[in-house]
């Protein structure tokens, strides 16, 4: 029996790893100023966000969480629970790590919105753009999140900035998808009504389609935030500080307690942010369909 039936023939081989390496190296060398610019910009963004987060005293942040929960969900008991959970982060001694993690997540989510929202709008208005972007999004969502770390490190080194880039890329699909979906599924008659009164395309988009799609867009934003939070630990592999870093230290040094404590804080942060953002878009959606 010839060998090529039993095992895949060696002769048929295409190496795509090398060209990709070469490509990354090429832009790394030739596009240096460009990536330095990005690095400076993102660092500025992160520092700005961090300055704000750090400026808020711990008791005020807890009070904000308490008040928002009460206002958005109308559940006083849950407001107390979330306040206590926030307090727990401080008691466990991870308050400042939490602040940094929160800042990285906020920065990445801001980037995802700034880039993703216009793409989503564009895709919603053009079937060609949709056909182009859709497979890219599918690929991005099935790609293991670790893969994003490599080019980020290659191009921007290690630290918080590549973490923001990797997180942004990983977390951007829901914003694009849900913006697109929301705008495309605005009630046809409502769009027709806008057009029948002589709205320009821009007017229809800004005055009718985007506001009508807002609940869906907010649902996408919620998913994006959750995905950004789920990158926290992964990104600490490329030197991002904060709670994820604590988890990684815990793993490396077999300090189970340390890793678990930090992991718990990530969960607390995720739960609270998830519920609060859900609360925001559900109140909006409730106005649409609730009392009909």
């Amino acid at each position: 029996m010839p060998n090529w039936i039993a095992s895949f023939p060696d002769t048929i081989k295409i190496n795509i790893a090398t060209p990709i390496d070469n490509f990354v190296e090429y832009i790394n060398v030739n596009w240096r100023p460009f990536f330095d610019g990005i690095k400076t910009g993102l660092l500025g963004l992160l520092n700005g966000v961090y300055a704000v987060v750090e400026f808020i005293p711990w008791w005020l942040l807890i009070a904000i969480v308490f008040a928002l929960t009460w206002l958005l969900m109308k559940k006083p008991l849950r407001a107390v629970l979330y306040a206590v959970l926030m307090l727990l982060i401080g008691i466990l001694g991870l308050w400042s790590y939490m602040q940094l993690t929160l800042s990285i997540v906020i920065a990445a989510v801001l980037m995802a919105i700034i880039i993703g929202f216009p793409i989503g709008v564009l895709v919603s208005t053009s079937n060609h753009a949709n056909a182009l972007v859709r497979p890219i999004l599918d690929t991005m969502q099935t790609m293991p999140s670790f893969v994003y770390l490599i080019p980020a490190v290659m191009l921007l080194g290690i630290g918080n900035v590549p973490a923001i880039i990797a997180t942004t890329i990983y977390a951007i699909p829901p914003v694009i998808r849900m913006t697109n979906h929301g705008i495309r599924h605005v009630d046809k008659e409502v769009v027709e009504a806008a057009q029948s009164f002589g709205s320009t395309r821009w007017q229809t988009l800004v005055k009718v389609q985007i506001p009508q799609a807002m609940p869906t867009i907010m649902a996408g934003l919620n998913q994006t935030i959750m995905m950004a939070l789920s990158m926290v630990v992964t990104c600490s592999l490329i030197g991002a500080r904060g709670l994820g870093h604590e988890v990684v230290i815990g793993i490396n040094r077999l300090e189970i307690g340390r890793g678990f404590t930090a992991g718990l804080c990530v969960v607390i942060l995720a739960v609270i942010i998830d519920r609060l953002t859900q609360g925001i878009y559900k109140t909006e959606a409730g106005d649409d369909h609730g009392k009909g």
């Binding site: 008659e189 409502v190 027709e192 009504a193 002589g198 320009t200 506001p211 807002m214 106005d287 369909h289």
Partner: protein, 394 residues
């Protein structure tokens, strides 16, 4: 007489086809092929197939047809929400299809407004914001457009609801917002795509009545789409019946009822409540005997005997109805040898010639005698027996 009509909107040989092979389909249609045949041969759906009609200024033109008959597509072609495949749409002589982008926007902003079946309201805006929308895209300053919106909201009876979200309103109220939004632009033509179909029957009746009131007050031209023949007959000055993308017959309610173009139209009309179409003058008959006040009792009696009736209407010299004289009373008058005048029953039911049968039904049920149809000066035009009222409805 037909020439001096003031035509606002004229639709000529309008086609709207869906599918790839539209040219081949056009050829077939022009040769007289049917919709299903065209679909089979070319895969093209003829939503609108050679439709032509005119709408007179200040009148309500109703397009009626079952779902899928193409009526909604026709109305969407008029403001170019749908781009027609062929034909022309003349608005005051100008072909809407030839308007440039900017001109089309202006046409939509100033000349036509549309009211939708499911209201098409924007849930992120309150009632005021919805009504002011048309003026907003036109660039009217906030204060001015809100003042105008308040005025219209007041007119449709929604004052006090300006700050509510549409989702807080009932169906009838939502459609009032829809109508107010369309009227706020002060358009020449109002396109209404089954505006009352989603409302329950009682609310629908109120809205129809109100629409007529508003139409009379503002003298708007309305193109109204419905699938309800009663609604069509109630509102339409002229009515067009559509089927499978074609306009089968255009005419007034009476023309259609008395002279339907084919079986389909007849069936459609049969489903209608005839009492709302026919009026007194359509079913009245000439009385078989008439008596003048000046006639003596003997003459009155012989007139009644001749025509075999037990009572007869009495008129004066100018044909003005005085009352009714029964056979019994005439005999009494003869026995007493007195003038008949004192025996005439003057308290009788009178109806106007254009009263709808539905409205005179209660009177017909109440009276012992046939109903007298009299014009505004009291002249007797005819009589309607109870039997005639009932038999005309079947």
């Amino acid at each position: 007489m037909a020439r001096d009509k003031d035509i606002v909107l004229e639709v000529k040989n309008l086609y709207k086809l869906y599918g790839v092979n539209r040219n081949a389909a056009m050829e077939l249609l022009k040769k007289g092929a049917g919709r299903s045949e065209v679909l089979k041969q070319t895969g093209v759906t003829a939503a609108v197939n050679n439709v032509s009609f005119e709408v007179e200024r200040g009148k309500i033109f109703v397009l009626i047809g079952l779902s899928g008959s193409g009526k909604s597509t026709v109305v969407r072609c008029i403001n170019m929400l749908q781009n027609p495949t062929a034909g022309s749409i003349l608005f005051e002589g100008q072909d809407v299809r030839k308007l440039k982008k900017k001109e089309l926007l202006d046409f939509r902003r100033h000349k036509v407004s549309m009211v939708f079946q499911n209201y098409g309201l924007m849930s992120h805006r309150d009632v005021l914001g919805n009504v002011a929308y048309g003026l907003e895209v036109r660039g009217v300053p906030r204060e001015e457009r809100e003042a105008r919106a308040h005025e219209i909201i007041d007119m449709v009876g929604l004052s006090g609801w300006e700050k509510k979200n549409p989702s807080e309103l009932s169906g009838g109220m939502r459609q009032r917002v829809g109508i107010a939004r369309a009227l706020a632009n002060d358009p020449d033509v109002l396109l209404m795509d089954e505006p009352f179909s989603a409302l329950d029957p009682l609310v629908r009746r109120d809205m129809q009545f109100e629409l007529l009131t508003i139409q009379r007050k503002m003298n708007k031209t309305i193109l109204f789409i419905t699938h309800d023949i009663d609604e069509a007959f109630k509102l339409g000055d002229r009515i067009g019946i559509m089927r499978d993308g074609q306009l089968i017959q255009v005419g007034t309610a009476e023309e259609m009822t008395s002279n339907p173009a084919d079986e389909y139209v007849r069936d459609f009309i049969d489903s209608a409540d005839r009492s709302r179409v026919f009026c007194a003058k359509n079913v009245m008959e000439t009385p078989s005997s008439l008596i003048r006040v000046s006639d003596g009792a003997t003459k009155a009696l012989s007139a009644m005997r001749r025509s075999g009736v037990s009572s007869s209407y009495v008129i004066d010299e100018k044909m003005v109805l005085v009352g009714i004289l029964t056979l019994e009373d005439a005999m009494k008058a003869k026995a007493e040898n007195t003038p008949i005048a004192q025996y005439i029953i003057q308290d009788i039911e009178r109806v106007a010639p254009d009263a709808l049968l539905a409205d005179i039904m209660p009177q017909a049920a109440r009276t012992r005698f046939p109903l007298a149809v009299v014009d505004s000066e009291g002249h007797l035009e005819g009589i309607i027996s109870k039997a005639a009222v009932l038999s005309s409805l079947t």
